[in-house]
Symmetry: C2
Amino acid sequence: MLNTVFAPQVVGLSLLERETVHRRLARTVGNPAAKSALDMAIWDALGQSLDVSVTELLGGYTDRMRVSHMLGFDEPAAMVAEAERIRDTYGITTFKVKVGRRPVTLDTAVVRALRERFGTAVDLYVDGNRGWTAAESARAMKEMADLDLLFAEELCPADDVLGRRWLVSQVDVPFIADESAVSPADVTREILGGSATAISIKTARTGFTRSQRTHHLAEGLGLEVVMGNQIDGQLGSLCTVAFGASYELTARRPGELSNFLDMSDDLLAEPLSIADGELAIRPGAGLGAAIDPGKLRHYRLD
Amino acid sequence: MLNTVFAPQVVGLSLLERETVHRRLARTVGNPAAKSALDMAIWDALGQSLDVSVTELLGGYTDRMRVSHMLGFDEPAAMVAEAERIRDTYGITTFKVKVGRRPVTLDTAVVRALRERFGTAVDLYVDGNRGWTAAESARAMKEMADLDLLFAEELCPADDVLGRRWLVSQVDVPFIADESAVSPADVTREILGGSATAISIKTARTGFTRSQRTHHLAEGLGLEVVMGNQIDGQLGSLCTVAFGASYELTARRPGELSNFLDMSDDLLAEPLSIADGELAIRPGAGLGAAIDPGKLRHYRLD
């Protein structure tokens, strides 16, 4: 896609003509990942030419984000043990618990076990990846009513339009739209349709240019925002934290920045590291991401 | 305000910490003009330090805007003569006609005279500054139904809530909210309340940082945008065109950039000039606005 479709559209433009790039790429439907990669590469190169970090170009609010860690499906005891390990190793104290199994008590038992183990020392939220029906979601939320959840994310499908609206209207924590609200127009539609009360921004699918639009839209609509993870490696996580640190609204909540911990290798010459529950942006110009040429050669697919 | 309230809040911050500046200024209610002046001065200084224009920092879509000219209240013949002079002198072919007098035929006769004189060679829109009632506005719009208006702006007060909503629902051209939708939250409220279907962005009241937010919000909501004029002199007009040229949505329609033509003197060392109906951004870093120190000394109020 990049070489055959998008590159010819932007060759010859300056790094400063970002809105022209944005509009030319938008002529092609779909392919958000390729467009986002190109967009973020342009911001990185612009930052490098100006000797300014991408975070400073975007807004410069802070230089780090707290990190939330996702806990995948397992027995309660195993998930508690994993949370302990992550907390002890990285200082992370916010956990996003995957839910959506049947019966719902399989998952609510996990959340309860985590709360019982850690008390108020951790923040917990749940992500259903549309696994439950609206009715199951409502039942699960009632079962977890005393567990002080931070958010609930995509518990049931947004395409179950009226069921989802009914669910969101009764959930008393922000309900995050993720895969159901990718573009700014999706955000407008889903929020006005009552399908969510908060959104997840993922730089892997909206780059920096469209993530900035989505941020400003969400802020103007009065929504909570979470920086999400699109199975990002280290470079993707660096993009996410670079954007999230740019604004107060995105830096306010822990970002989903720990997925790379599960990967055995990566492209960055110097690995990212999470300490005291935080991930910092890289000092220096652009994204500050030096790529290891040997690894790039090894892993590239073209 | 600037010296006593806002300056102490931002002294010591870098030009790159714009979001921190933005949030600190937002602690103080009101004073949009002072906040905007400070915000735009920061973007100008940042552009100068990076040797990049403000337009390029914001988005870099184009380097100029077409200009629309406002025609004040007078007899039809005099307003036609003024439009001829403006067209012949500056090449401007878009006119915003002030309306809101009683009976409405005082104003509709002007718009008709302009259309009869110029045919399809000009674009016309009307701005009521809330001068009519909703019913008068509806009657005037019916009288002008054959005059091919581009927009209608603030014909009746937004605080006449239900009357305004009734009016907007029947007007078949974009209805611009100006003074009724200053902040992003105002835009959300007024648009969702059916009080408008388009908005005016004025850098004099939202600076660059909040104008960018308003632009991204409007785009995400699917609204038309016009760059408006807050009785701007040359420096203010330069700020408006610098912002408007940054994005396709703001550059698509002529901007209200000609108000300075009515002023006998200004602060800029080199005057702005409108030619072929267009105003260009200044080449060079920041806003490219060199201030004449003698004039500044003469006109300053502190």
